[in-house]
Point group: C2
Chain length 308, copies 2
């Protein structure tokens, strides 16, 4: 028995060390150095090369090293084993705080204060009461729910939308397409937290983004392709949308010629809203491997989206 | 019976309107237009001109329009009536969020990401886990406690110091001068929340600030004179302190020739960390006036600091 480990594009070493501590009896092989594919029973992967996972006939489970599964969902052929998502509470916390940070940045006019400070100007601005400032989360999965709750705890008027009905303490929730329009038209800051799939691709386009009030803001912490970039850039240039904090893009790294780098009031961060730390994130993965070895169900199982 | 209202340097009108709603039977006179000083039973004031409050022989209480009482404490002669502080929960919330915003700004390296974005550079940085990032609050009064709690809820390792022992859920607390040194030497971001009085003036000087680790940050949300400006600027210039977010200054507006405007990694905001909104803040003041009229105690009574 062995673990295949591949934190594609990142350093796998701290993970290998963490698993050596937590699962001392199971060898860890870092891709592509796999002495014998027949040994591999667990694939702990992130953005693993497409088509490779069918090469391990004794695989028992795929353990995704993050919450987003769009890379796995895009596989044309996968072995018939459970896919387990990573829910690192540290990641959810950091993503929630990223949303709070940018909601505050926009609400409290920190950008204006920076500009003023550059010319030694002391001038305060009245802003809406925090309790009346509407910050709306699209997508109420485990992370979206954590973000919406944190926004409410931070004092904002928190709102949330999902395809089907969800109820969250302290958050005004909406659902379905009529609920989406209703929420967007009453939003000061929109936080995109939707997973990427056929239903959500370009869901934020010129029509839906145009339903936001003039002067509103957009934060994206999930996947780039949920947003139609041309539509968002046009609405930013026209001033309809007053600013955006973007952490996820269709192509990453964001190409140097992307208009986002050069659009005023757009803040680009390099996919850092929820950093995964081997030290905390290896624990739930190791626990899931132990669960499977004991004949129990791992958690949370990923149900691939309908591809029809 | 009448109310004297003076929100010195700000617009008193929304307050007068709020009191007209909440206390319709009590006339409100906006300073300096006081038809008859004998009518004044309640002085609702902020930074009221020194020496004026002894001119109202029928005064029953002074209701301060903010949490900070140093302006009143600096009076040489005050009528013998209770001084009631304003504790607007909205203000505490906004101040707590201001501290969270800047702690995140420093911890998550948002300044680096801004610089990188200006040259279209995609590069992520490892940062310490949020749960291991130590944010320490000096002063555990009602606002300092709210800030420390919020930092803990935001996922930080929250610490707090006060002269005498305090215990706060989820916060590591320290007290006395040995506790101060112990906390400062293990701090990534220091949040000053101390009231200004004889004991706290220049408490943050080259000795105490020098006990902070190299590369730490300072946030000031209370009063400027708790910090020795020359000491802080010298430590910023030497790189011992890596940055500061300052919302309070010895002289406000901060003079255009202040070194703070020109020091790298210093973020000046014009005393906006906790904005007072007439709409929410008039309520506890009106309630205190009603309490006194009913023969009850207002809350919270201010106990002036020892002036010896």
């Amino acid at each position: 028995m062995a673990i295949l480990l591949n934190y594609q594009g990142h350093d796998s070493t701290p993970w290998a060390e963490a698993f050596a501590d937590m699962l001392p009896t199971i060898p860890v092989h870092i891709y592509p150095h796999i002495p014998n594919p027949l040994d591999i029973q667990y694939a702990v992967v992130w953005h693993h090369p497409h088509g490779d996972l069918i090469n391990y006939p004794n695989l028992k489970a795929i353990l995704n090293m993050g919450a987003g599964t769009d890379h796995l969902d895009a596989e044309t052929e996968l072995p018939d084993v459970p896919i387990v998502r990573l829910l690192d509470p540290d990641v959810g916390n950091d993503m929630a705080q990223y949303a709070v940070y940018w909601a505050m940045h926009f609400h409290r006019r920190f950008e204006d204060y920076r500009r003023q400070a550059s010319r030694a100007e002391w001038l305060s601005h009245e802003v809406p009461r925090t309790a009346e400032y509407r910050v709306s989360v699209m997508g109420l999965g485990l992370i979206g729910t954590q973000i919406a709750r944190r926004l409410a705890l931070s004092g904002f008027k928190a709102q949330g939308w999902s395809r089907t009905e969800h109820r969250i303490d302290g958050v005004d929730t909406f659902h379905g397409s009529s609920g989406l329009q209703q929420m967007l038209s009453a939003t000061d800051v929109l936080v995109n937290c939707l997973p990427l799939n056929r239903q959500t691709r370009y869901l934020l386009n010129s029509e839906t983004l145009g339903q936001l009030p003039t002067g509103s803001f957009v934060i994206n912490v999930s996947r780039g392709a949920v947003i139609d970039d041309d539509a968002l850039i046009a609405l930013l240039n026209s001033g309809h949308i007053a600013g955006a904090a973007l952490d996820a893009f269709v192509e990453e790294p964001l190409p140097a010629d992307s208009a986002y780098w050069r659009t005023a009031n757009v803040f680009v961060t390099p996919h850092i809203s929820g950093s995964t730390y081997a030290k905390s994130a290896a624990r739930p993965i190791a626990d899931n491997i132990i669960r499977i070895e004991q004949g129990k169900q791992p958690f949370p199982i990923h149900i691939p989206p309908q591809t029809t």
